[in-house]
Amino acid sequence: MQYEAVIGLEIHAQLLTESKMFCGCSTKFGSEPNSQTCPVCIGMPGVLPVTNKKAIEYVIKTGLAVNCDIAPYSRFARKNYFYPDLPKGYQISQYELPLCGHGFIEINIDSETRKIGLTRIHLEEDAGKNIHEGAGNYSFVDLNRAGTPLMEIVSEPDIRTPQEAVEFMKKLRSLVRYISVCDGNMEQGSLRCDANVSVRPVGQKELGTKTEIKNMNSFRFVEKALDYEIKRQIKILREGGKIIQETRLWDSDRGITESMRSKEEAHDYRYFPEPDLVPVEVDDAWIERIQAQLVELPDSKRKRFSSQYGLPEHDAALLTSERAMAEWFEKAVDLGGDPKAVSNWMMGELMRLLNEENRQIEECSLKPGQLAGLLNLIDQGTISGKIAKTVFEEMYRTGMDAAAIVKEKGLVQVSDESEIEKVIDEVLAKNPGEVERFRGGEEKLMGFFVGQAMKMTKGKANPKVLNELLKKKLGNL
């Protein structure tokens, strides 16, 4: 029997607000433990939460970016459970009435577009962290993160393969980074993902028993964990067993998922409306104000790049996957670079150099105008395309302009026919054997002569001129 997987994702995204969800403390990452706390986020007796308006706006912004309905009336709720990193003994979250509902994200799988539904997006506060290392028989609690605004995005069970799950995550990460609501850093935990997974025989409508997978903190682990879990479930069913509804933890070292707690051990969170906060009312004017701040999103940018600049679909998709990359591209084009050439240089040399150093385009000292300048030199025939690669790398490393590098290193292209003729003559004189073979019909030796001539001119010979002259000379011989 063939099985298919049914996957739904729950994504937690830490919002890029300056201050916490319900108090004025900073949300900065990596500070001295408990240095970013106050009576409110420590849960002192008598304190009250005050909602961070920016956080609400960020969630609405996200909702608009993923085609959600924005609720005119939504409410916070308390999720009750005991844990040392949860200072109040409850988390302020949303339950019955989330801020956003009914959206979707489109992903591309094998050049086919798939629509993944979104059930809801809601706002909540993050917990602190328990630290067990270096504490002897004790554990320490760091509440710096407690109260950081967290957006939970819940997908419909529309995902069928681990690859789709990864594409979905990538798309979502790209989106939240585009609209600057989350930095998307999975390693630091500012973007986290849990998955609900079940399998069923292909063709069956009703869903199988699901497990929840936690602790997948990279795209790679999402793929591996889901892959493992799907295989595990199919194996159990094939062997006539039953799936137990439970929460499982991905162990990246051992490459397996492991049972964390069963359904019976699951918490009863005793949700009820948060009485310390008034309901959130969002009117059309507010939504319009936020809509107006929305930047062009990856999908429409991609389509525009294709039509406006005549880029192939693949190039357009890659260039628009990160907002900074797309902006870099358009800047270079604005400053005179040919779109296709800019795209080729970015996806070839620039990406290669960035990847080598594991850097983001924002951290790159090479400016779009400098690439445009380089392309100009090629167009004018000042340098050859081959030399340009050397110049590009030099620009990337030093931040100098192309013209300056070309001048300093004497890389100007030689197009003077008499000069090139001299070189050709020398090459032919030095290699009589090859000339003989060429005459005998080994025409592929043409490349050898070009290479020798280039070597002699240190690559500066105008390839077009060189080729023409060589053909002429060899033909006349």
């Binding site: 009576p39 008598g46 005991f82 200072p87 003994g89 609690v141 009863d268 005793r270 009820f272 009485p275």
Partner: protein, 484 residues
Amino acid sequence: MELYSLTLEEARKAIDRGEISPVELAEAVFKRIDTVEDKIHSFITVNRDNALAQARQAEQHIRQDIKHPLSGIPLAIKDNICTEGVRTTCSSKMLENFVPPYESTVTKKLRDQGYVLTGKTNLDEFAMGSSTENSAFGPTRNPWDITRVPGGSSGGSAAAVAADMCIAALGSDTGGSIRQPASFCGVVGLKPTYGRVSRYGLVAFASSLDQIGPITKNVKDAAILLNIISGRDLCDSTSANLPVPDFTSAAGKDIKGMKLGIPKEYFIKGIAYEVGSSVRQAIKQLESLGAVPVEISLPHTDYAVAAYYILATSEASSNLARYDGVKYGLRVEGEDLIDMYMRTREAGFGAEVKRRIILGTYALSSGYYDAYYKKAQQVRTLIKQDFEKAFEKVDAIVTPTSPVPAFRAGEKTDDPLQMYLADIFTISVNLAGVPGISIPCGFTSENLPVGLQIIGKHFDEESILKIAYAYEQSADWHKMKLEL
């Protein structure tokens, strides 16, 4: 007349005229505490040294002609309102040594107006109770008869005002905790509209019902304090963004033609004879002042106590989760985390608090939520609508504050349900979120005070203060003095 007997208004005048100094006044109050506190036990913490320093500071301000309405006025604060640097226990072992690192909004306002903090007053643990007997630090006694309870949960504040151990006090009211002790102790107690006064710094019992209010020797003083503590607070999202009128201007206004609703459901069963007759007498008195009694109906009254004990305990079960031994307060070490939680909460909470946490946890549990919490919320809506409908016809509603006068210490401690019924007339007011005031309206044959409750529309404290003041001035019960 002794200085400690002064009302807030009288003390203010005497200080402003230079007849007495804040230090003299504070010393008189502390002398009174020295004399009678042993019998009453109003205070958990007496703030003598700080208070005298505050009084000296007030004197300096007065010399510099800096005038604040509370400059040099000794007030007592219920011990569930956080005071920075002054221990705030909520009468619980859990917080026996808890010193807040921050100031509540109300006490900050009082501080800005120059008050002198006499001390922190006793209460039922976490404000859960109606007799101030559920205190980890021992019960408070009623100054009119020390074999009886002062009511609760603000029994310490009400008894301190009645026994002149402060000029006035603040309490908190979740289901009657200001009004019922005020009625038992023969003083004035006002629960403002929900949202009128900031709750920031009030240790939460039931967040959607809690409200801080004044307990005073007369109506005018309640208005003075309400003026100071009211208003929008950015730290409390549930505080109302509405202008605060000058409540003292309600004093002395004519009540002629005002319609007073008399809910028929409040005058049928279980009311002590002398309470009923005092309240009826008071209504006649109000009629003679020109008010017009109108019989009204609050049809869902019977369900109020049940709904209240679901909602209040549900919220409490969540509000009290933070006392887990991890961050502050009591910790009893255990074998592991869960064991530490259990031992801490076992040792830290008293029986009534545990009972309510268990009740509320149950009511919110999955599978029971709809039958209990949700149903209770629906009842709450109906009760709110009862009041809205009634207020279409009347300007205020008049009822007894409590069906009985102060009962004997220990009389109801073994029967929680009987204890809960002590709040039967006050609970609906919290559920509806409307303001209510209790003022003395007579005495029983055993010389126990009886309280009259006047309930107003949302954010219409002015009307109930107007009626209360007119009645008080015509009846003079507030001038009755007890002997200790």
